[in-house]
């Protein structure tokens, strides 16, 4: 049987994670692209680091960091009365940590490709940093923003090592569709695994193809300044 519950949960997770990644990643990337501070390269490197650890191991460390033995976990437990790991919120936190490089690096590339004259023009027209970021920075960086969104969205769908470790594979709470597929494969239930994978692939494919088509139609490259 196809695990619809997990599919719904995953959709929710992907949506929440994407929003958080945009909110965190865009300003961070913008800052990294514009700052002249030398230390920025260190920040950039740190953001990419979660990638180099195997997901399960990263999940292990995240679990230690958020778990009830850690100051952070205890603080959270003290405030909310619940545990951060093994909850949907914990899953979101883990997802965000792990997907951040997928978002930030392409965003950064997008912002770097912006012609600085256009930012100067925007400032000269009285537009402040905030307004310029929204009206010039974001639209002109679209190829990078798109790439970042696609990668982090797809990755949130497929990620399972961290999700499993931090989420604990609890049906309806933290069992994502990729964990569910993994379980089916582990249980040799190849039919379910195949069908669920197919649903996941077809849905993702459709979402991606539609996104790419819209983008080609409406947001073609901007020459001519």
């Amino acid at each position: 049987m196809i695990d619809w519950e997990s599919i719904a949960l995953t959709a929710r997770l992907a949506a929440v994670t994407s929003v958080i990644l945009l909110v965190l990643g865009l300003p961070l990337a913008w800052w990294l692209a514009r700052t002249r501070w030398r230390g920025a390269v260190l920040v950039e490197a740190v953001v990419a680091l979660p990638l180099v650890l195997p997901p399960t191991v990263l999940g292990f460390y995240v679990l230690l960091m958020l778990g009830s033995n850690s100051p952070l976990g205890q603080f959270y437990e003290g405030v909310t009365g619940t545990l951060l790991p093994f909850s949907f919120r914990g899953l979101v936190v883990a997802s965000v940590i792990f997907s951040l490089p997928f978002a930030v690096q392409p965003f950064l590339a997008g912002f770097r490709a912006i012609d600085p004259r256009l930012l100067e023009a925007s400032y000269s027209l009285g537009s402040g940093r905030f307004h310029t970021f929204f009206w010039i920075g974001l639209p002109l960086a679209w190829p990078g923003l798109l790439a970042g969104c696609v990668l982090s969205f797809a990755h949130t769908l497929g990620e399972f090592g961290v999700a499993l470790m931090v989420g604990g594979n609890i049906a309806g709470v933290t069992r994502t569709v990729s964990i569910s597929i993994y379980d089916s494969v582990q249980a040799m239930d190849y039919a379910t695994a195949g069908w669920t994978s197919a649903i996941l692939l077809v849905t993702s494919f459709t979402i991606l193809a539609v996104t790419f088509t819209l983008q080609r139609k409406f947001v073609s490259t901007w020459p001519g300044t």
Binding site: T56, F60, L63, L64, G67, S68, N69, G73, L83, P85, F86, L164, M165, G168, N169, I170, A171, R175, D183, V185, Q186, A187, M188, D189, Y190
Partner: protein
Amino acid sequence: NPKPQISSENPGTLTIAAASSLKFALDDLLELFRAENQNINVRVTYGSSGNFRTQIEQGAPFDLFLSADRVFPEMLIESGRGEKGSLFDYAVGRMVIWVRDVSPLDPEQSLVDSRVRKIAIANPKHSPYGQAAVAAFKSLGVYEQIKDRFVMGENIAQAAQFVETGAADIGVIALALATAPTMAERGRYWEIPLGHFPTMFQSGVILTNAQNPDAARALLGMMITDSGQELLRAHGFLMPQETQETP
């Protein structure tokens, strides 16, 4: 055995963390359990016993942990996460050498067969079945001869898949897995006699922060009823009382 009673005022949810190898047996068992305790909502998560231990140490909200070995439950009891005295061996694992149907190999002879290029086992570094397999190979006197042909899965399920996909020629897996429907359809096996490797007691423990320890106890109780043991046996396990411990 007397059947522990669960007060119907306190039904709630029973959350179980169970070793992957238990999947087929436990699914059937739970059907039985649900039929008898309709007011209990059972949720089970299968996975790696090692991961479960880590997660439980970090406060994972499980009531009952059915491990694939005895070490992890013992560690949990030591750290206070497992209820003292609730440790309990529910089965003993059996191990087979598995080949695909289409393979010309005879599983019993396959360890010394020169046509075998890759032997799939679970990683002996952390998997009880992997450790048992290595012990068995040593006991059978073939270890030195075949150790270069190992490919190691993170668990027996992955070892099974190595063989199943045709990537490896033979694999050492749990009998519990070999008797699972998909595997049974697609392959043949030879059981490695119990004496060749340390007895693999599989133990369960009730966790100290269990929300529903009564239900957990009820399930444990059911596992040692005749019908429970029958089911476990049918799915490739031995009962602890049927073996003597081999070092």
